[in-house]
């Protein structure tokens, strides 16, 4: 019963936040709504006994990524409200509607049809439950997924280089002077 209540509450938070993200006029509000969703998901993680992930979710996502977003919003000063009139593009609104409605329809269909969504495949990476969540995670990370784990370093290196390159003010471009290409 408690599970149910927790799920429903957390789900409500998630969905409200998600809708908030896409419907808020001000990007700052969107970012804050994103935090709300991320928080809701962290709650779900706890409910799913992924305690460590719940912590990481809050720290990394809410703590780092969203802050980064806010940082950029402030840096660029784009925290103005945006006209939410859905589209200047002709078909966009309808396409989005089709996507949303279609996806939900398929989802509903699946909910009705599918009895057991997940297979009864045997556990590969070791049991997920138990009070040694962190230990299990670590073992998994350094055995089955060690290669992936190492690869994340590659990814981060690229991200760092990218951030440096992109943020660097180019030698020959002065400030925010209009581009040669834009003048044309």
């Amino acid at each position: 019963m408690v599970d149910t209540v927790v799920f429903i509450l957390a789900a409500a938070i998630c969905l409200t936040g998600a809708l908030g993200v896409i419907l808020a006029r001000n990007p700052v509000h969107s970012a804050l709504m994103l935090v709300m969703t991320l928080f809701g998901i962290a709650v779900q993680f706890v409910a799913l006994e992924a305690h460590f992930l719940a912590a990481v979710q809050v720290i990394v996502y809410a703590g780092a990524i969203v802050v980064l977003f806010l940082f950029v919003i402030m840096l660029l000063g784009v925290d103005r409200a945006q006209n939410l009139e859905l589209s200047v593009l002709p078909v966009q609104k309808w396409a989005a509607l089709v996507f949303a409605a279609g996806s939900l329809a398929i989802l509903a269909l699946l909910v009705m049809v599918v009895k057991e969504p997940v297979t009864g495949a045997e556990a590969i990476g070791g049991s997920a439950t138990g009070d040694e969540n962190v230990r299990l995670l670590a073992r998994s990370l350094f055995s089955d997924y060690v290669y992936a784990f190492e690869l994340t370093s590659l990814l981060l290196v690229i991200a760092v280089i990218g951030a440096v390159v992109l943020a660097r003010k180019p030698k020959n471009v002065v400030g925010v002077a209009p581009e040669p290409g834009n003048e044309a």
Partner: protein, 496 residues
């Protein structure tokens, strides 16, 4: 207590030889970065290019060694089955290294001309190449995903590095947003696959699917669909291709070449590994979808190509339709089809790299109108004939590798009795040929006395074009070696 358990922890065995190509590339990337950061003045372009080339060459040698190992001992996998060492992965490693060396050579003159930073560019290129290799070798969906991200993110940045052009940034953000969007689909597909099969490891997925008959396939179907979406985006198959022309046009030419060749090849590598190798038992489900995608891609690619006026966009749409041909081969879901796809990708990579080498050399990278090529046949006959060969190869004219590639694709389609698709691919080849002919026409059909352009021609470009043209013709005449190579490179999934 915990520490006791950790003592007993034994990590998975690692086949370092198999990892060596990636390690070399990453090492070179770091070396380039470090030297450029620490050196008193900016590292020279020569240094970065040579480093990249050396890395590519060393990796190449290692890859050849691995090839003989695989030939001798059979395929294997490493690091908890996450990394496959088979003909397939080495085939793509070789291909990616060729692409890497080529792109490095092409960027050599280009970076200076267009005022881009060589060290960062090369570091990203090397990382991107490593990501591509990972993607092609991955025996695990999540590893594949990480490789894809490494490849893609590197490319986003390389595109945006062309500071002077707003088009470059536009194409970067387009590629980025859409890439992230499609990555989400791909990831969702991985999640559903995980749910359906209990693992992200392809070896396990394969054996699970072979062993189990599902009562309820919906999850798996949705998973396959989403995986297909994510990878189709990478290979620029319609209707997930829209980014390609814009991005190709806006990106610096060497990067365009890289995207059109290696990013596409890596995408197909993943596609083949996942669908042909892992989902082999469900080919009746996915093959028709791939076939439909192939038809749409072929039609849209060829029809849109003939409307273009910008060479880079032309080649972009042509690359879309080439994705269609490979999809035709994938669609046949057979070893023949897979080796046809591999052959196609190999030859296509060389063609497209050569083509973009010429495009990049023809002049400032802002726009590439067809008129820029008018009379090239007269002013630069050698370049023009080289370009003609590459274009005709893409059109599938015999005595070029492109024809042999198309031939095998059609053969694969016929073998799987997909006559309609075979027919469509040949008809769209004709439509597409119109576009190639327009370029050839522009180069050769000039009024008397008219002089052609005289582009500044960096010798590295000549090397690339010469190599690409030579390869295209040699494979067109004596393709046996490459066919065998591709046949030996059909993916095999083995545990441990």
């Amino acid at each position: 207590m915990g520490s006791l358990q950790l003592v007993g922890f034994v990590g998975p065995s690692v086949n370092w030889w198999a990892l060596l190509p990636q390690i070399i590339l990453l090492g070179a990337a770091l070396a380039v970065l470090l030297v450029s950061a620490l050196a008193p003045q900016r590292a020279s372009t020569v240094f970065t290019t040579v480093t990249t080339l050396c890395a590519a060459l060393t990796s190449f040698v290692v890859a050849l060694g691995l090839w003989s190992d695989v030939k001798a001992d059979g395929p294997s996998s490493s690091i908890a089955s996450a990394f496959g060492v088979d003909g397939f992965s080495i085939f793509f490693t070789v291909l990616i290294l060729i692409g890497l060396a080529t792109t490095a050579l092409l960027s050599h003159g280009y970076l200076d001309r267009e005022e881009m930073d060589p060290p960062e560019f090369h570091a990203l290129l090397l990382c991107s190449a490593a990501g591509a290799i990972v993607m092609a070798s991955a025996n695990d969906l999540i590893v594949m995903f990480l490789g894809l991200e490494a490849l893609s993110i590197g490319i986003y940045v390389m595109i945006a590095m062309h500071h002077r052009r707003s088009e470059a940034r536009e194409s970067a953000i387009k590629y980025f947003v859409l890439g992230a969007f499609s990555s989400a689909f791909l990831l969702y597909g991985i999640a559903l696959t995980y749910g359906a099969t209990g693992s992200t490891n392809l070896v396990h997925i394969r054996s699970y699917l072979d062993a189990v008959v599902f009562q309820d396939q919906h999850l798996l179907m949705a998973a396959m669909a989403l995986l297909l979406v994510g990878l189709s985006f990478k290979v620029a198959a319609a209707p997930f291709h829209f980014w390609a022309p814009d991005v190709y046009q806006g990106a610096p030419s060497p990067v365009t070449g890289w995207m059109a060749s290696i990013a596409k090849a890596a995408g197909f590598a993943a596609l083949l590994r996942i669908f042909f190798a892992a989902f082999a038992s469900h080919d009746v489900d996915w093959a028709p979808i791939v076939g439909a995608l192939a038809v749409i891609t072929l039609v849209i690619g060829s029809v849109m190509a003939i409307l273009q006026t910008d060479i880079k966009r032309m080649l972009a749409f042509s690359s879309v339709s080439h994705a269609g041909y490979v999809l035709v081969a994938v669609h046949s879901a057979s070893a023949t089809g897979t080796s046809a796809a591999l052959f196609y990708l190999f030859t296509y990579t060389l063609m497209v790299l050569g083509s973009f080498a010429i495009v990049g050399a023809m002049g400032p990278d802002d726009e590439h109108p067809l008129s820029r090529y008018t009379g090239l046949g007269r002013s630069r006959p050698v370049i023009a004939i080289g370009f003609t060969v590459l274009l005709l190869a893409q059109a599938g004219i015999p005595t070029t590798s492109g024809f042999i590639a198309k031939f095998q694709v059609i053969a694969a389609a016929v073998e799987s009795e997909s006559y309609f698709i075979a027919g469509v691919s040949m008809v769209t080849a004709v439509i597409g040929a119109f576009m190639y002919l327009r370029i050839v026409m522009a180069m050769y059909v000039v009024d008397e006395g008219e002089e052609g352009p005289r582009p500044i021609w960096h010798w590295t470009t000549s090397v690339v074009v010469l190599a690409a043209v030579g390869f295209t013709i040699i494979v067109g005449l004596v393709p046996q070696f490459l066919i065998e190579f591709a046949r030996d490179a059909v993916p095999v999934l083995v545990r441990g």
